[in-house]
Each structure stands twice: as structure tokens, then as C-alpha cells.
Symmetry: C2
Subunit: 241 residues, 2 copies
């Protein structure tokens, strides 16, 4: 929770392939939007590699600080999929095979005609005390333990799991925002904008510069949870156009 | 440095607009590739908002842990550009106006015909002891203090600054990698892959699954700094095709 009692969140993206530049993450913006729509402030993102110690450290830092922690990556069947073990270690609990996950995976493997070998059944392993992120479309589930939601890294599977997460988290008051594009250099706007920010402490004013040929400008984004406060600050910003 | 004496790096992306989902970061993959080409392992990325405390905490965590830290965002002229102040606080030094930055900005403002007002001249402020990231194409410079390189968030300006960073960092032995696409489910590959990983501890083997219609497969990526070790492990992986 933040100082206003609003829920907030941290996001942990797990995978060597993201840090090496081999794979470009697609999940961060999707999750940012998902949280924003529910009035949950995303306050911090971390990307770490497939190293247990690094995952444990990051999860523990984030889960003590934010209402919710979402993670992506590292829950498949191969040796580099170590997220479940790392989360269990972060919580100091054992890894178990979740019976509902075992059942779901057996169904999946029968359907696609592959053997439910030990490696495949690794995907049923979750930290003791976890709930599954599962539904009829998700056969190899993610899981949730306490305030930590552990999802797949493959974007379309992550999206399916995010739907389940949506039924489990409690949202807050949605952050409202209004944007105006001002075709003047940021250097002209800086002093009046700082004044407006000072007079309206409960709104957040961001300035995002652009250059379009010879035209310098900035998109000014005003954000607040309270509509009246947003409108009051925005009215002042609009006068700068 | 890592355990093999190779340089490594942490990356800090700064900006509310990234966390709110308003702006999708484009700098992370560019910087990942830049570092990879120089044999510098990118070990961790963090994204934080424009909150001084959060920037200070992240910078101090990363700079004590990695050979280099690169940051993007928050060095413009407006009230939400607080990166220079945060870095100064992280290092416990004063903020000064760097004479070369003052000179460069005066030149820029004369050229584009705007007044060098106090807000614009804020862009000359750097932590005491910094070197500028500047050249003939960069008029509003970034800066470097100790092992921390502070760059703009706007991608094309960030890229110009990255060129300067490239002249200042010492690279390592470049990580080599070979990839093979295997059209078998990861669950079939997991046991043999784990065996290969165990026999070749100095290479890193990643498995990245995909599904193409009814075909399940995985790209297996083998990485190592030593060509012979890479070849030996990769030869074993290729036998799984």
C-alpha cells in the first residue's frame, strides 16, 4: 500500500535471454496497463537472470515493499526453469507437487500424446501453500503464494494467467490522467510547470519532450486519482499552450 | 567484475511514464546489445519512478554490485528531471554547474534562438567530480561519476551518449553463442539438456520454447566465452535434433 492506502505492485522479469538482448520483453507494458486499469500503481520493475540467488533477493525485496508482486519466466520443464524453487526458498517453504496441477498436466499430455515424464511433471511443482493460476485454457499453471503471482514468460500464456490474477487482486482508485501537447521547448515551460506542481501537490505532472523537425514541444501529462484535483491542475497547464 | 574477472553492468531506467505504461521503453534492448558486443554482462535492470529516494536506493545497490551502471531518463530542464540531484545524493557530493556544459548549452541556445534561462541551464548541473558525456553532436550532455553513466531517456539522444560511453568503458571477452532450433517439445529435451549442462558447467544452456501450430519446439541457446568449450557443448546439443 502507498501512503494514500492505495495498492501498489512490483514486477520481476526473470530470464537470461532478456538481459542478453536475445529476446525483447513484451510482458512489461501489458502488465503495466493491466495494473493501471485496476488502480494498482506499478512502482518498480526488476529484470534478473536465471540465477537462484538473484531471484530470491529480488522477490524478497519486492514482496516486503509492495502490495503485490508479479513475476514472469522460468516455470517450464527444463533445467534453466528455476523460478518455483527460488520462490520456495524466498518464502522458506518446501516444494510440493500440487495435485490439481498434476491432474491438469496429465490431461494435457494425454491430449497431445506425449509421455508425462519427470521433466514435464516438474511443471506441477509449486512452493507449499501456493494457489494455482489455472483455468480451462491454462494446462501448465502458474501459482500464487502470499502476495506473489508467478506467471509464464511466453507472452500469450502470461496473458491467460494475468486474467486469473485479475480475479485475485484487489484494485484501488484508478489513476486519471490528462495530456496536452504544447509546442514550446521544455525550457520555456519548466518554471511555470514547477509552479503548478508546487501548488497542486497531490497531482503528478510529467513533461515528455519531443522534437518534430524544427518544432520543439512537450507532452504534459497530469495524473491524479481525484477528478476535481486533476481538473484544477490541468486547467492551469492548459493556459501554457 | 564477475567471478571470472569479466566486467558486468546494471541498468537503471528512470521515469514514471515507463511504469504507468504510457511510454514503452526502447533503450533497454539497445543497451543490452551495446554491452553484449563489448563483452560486458548485463546482470540486472531496474525501472523506478521519478522519486529521489527510489533512484538513490537503486543506484547505490547497483553501483556497489556491478562494474558499470548505466542510467536513462530524468536529465532535462523540468521539475520532474531529478536524476542529477539523486545521483549527487547517492554519492554524497554537491551539485555544480559544469563549465563545459554551460558553454555547450549557451552555444545550443544561441543557435536555436532561445533564452538561456535558469530552467534550461539546469541541464548543466552535474554531481561534483563528474565527467561529461558530450561531443559535437550532443549539446545537452549526460555525465559519468565513478562507475555510473547517466544518459538521456529520449532514445536518439541516449544513442549518441552511448557512443561516448563506448569510449570510456573497458570491455571483456565477448560471450559467444550458438543456437539450434529443435522441433520437439521441451519436455522431451529437458533430461538430456540438463545432462549436457551438468557436463559443461562453464557454458550456459537456455531453452526457449515455441509453438507453431501443432508443432512444439524450442530454440536451444548455448553461450560461453571460450570457443572450444562452446563447440564441445553445442555438439552434444546438436545430437538432440
Amino acid at each position: 500500500m502507498d501512503k494514500q492506502g492505495q495498492p501498489n505492485a512490483g514486477l520481476l522479469l526473470i530470464g537470461d535471454e532478456l538481459l542478453s538482448g536475445r529476446t525483447q520483453d513484451k510482458n512489461f507494458p501489458v502488465i503495466a496497463q493491466f495494473l493501471g486499469e485496476r488502480g494498482i500503481d506499478l512502482c518498480e520493475v526488476r529484470v534478473v537472470s536465471d540465477v537462484e540467488e538473484d531471484i530470491v533477493t529480488a522477490v524478497n525485496a519486492l514482496r516486503s515493499r509492495y502490495t503485490y508482486v508479479l513475476t514472469t519466466g522460468g516455470i517450464g520443464p527444463t533445467h534453466d526453469d528455476i523460478t518455483a524453487d527460488a520462490i520456495a526458498r524466498a518464502f522458506g517453504v518446501e516444494i510440493i507437487k500440487h495435485p490439481d496441477a498434476v491432474k491438469s498436466l496429465h490431461g494435457l499430455f494425454a491430449e497431445i500424446g506425449v509421455e508425462p515424464n519427470e521433466a514435464r511433471m516438474r511443471m506441477a511443482r509449486v512452493p507449499d501453500g501456493s494457489q494455482l493460476l489455472i483455468n480451462e485454457k491454462i494446462k501448465a499453471p502458474g501459482f500464487c503464494i502470499d502476495n506473489v503471482f508467478v506467471m509464464a514468460g511466453v507472452p500469450h500464456i502470461m496473458c491467460l494467467m494475468l486474467e486469473v490474477v485479475g480475479q485475485m487482486v484487489e484494485g484501488g482508485v484508478v489513476m486519471l490522467s490528462k495530456t496536452v501537447c504544447i509546442k514550446r521547448g521544455e525550457g520555456d515551460l519548466a518554471v511555470p510547470l514547477a509552479g503548478i506542481q508546487k501548488r497542486h501537490e497531490e497531482v503528478s505532472i510529467g513533461s515528455y519532450p519531443f522534437r518534430d523537425g524544427d518544432v520543439f514541444g512537450a507532452n504534459i501529462v497530469v495524473r491524479a486519482r481525484d477528478e476535481a484535483k486533476l481538473a484544477a491542475a490541468f486547467a492551469e497547464v492548459e493556459k501554457l499552450v
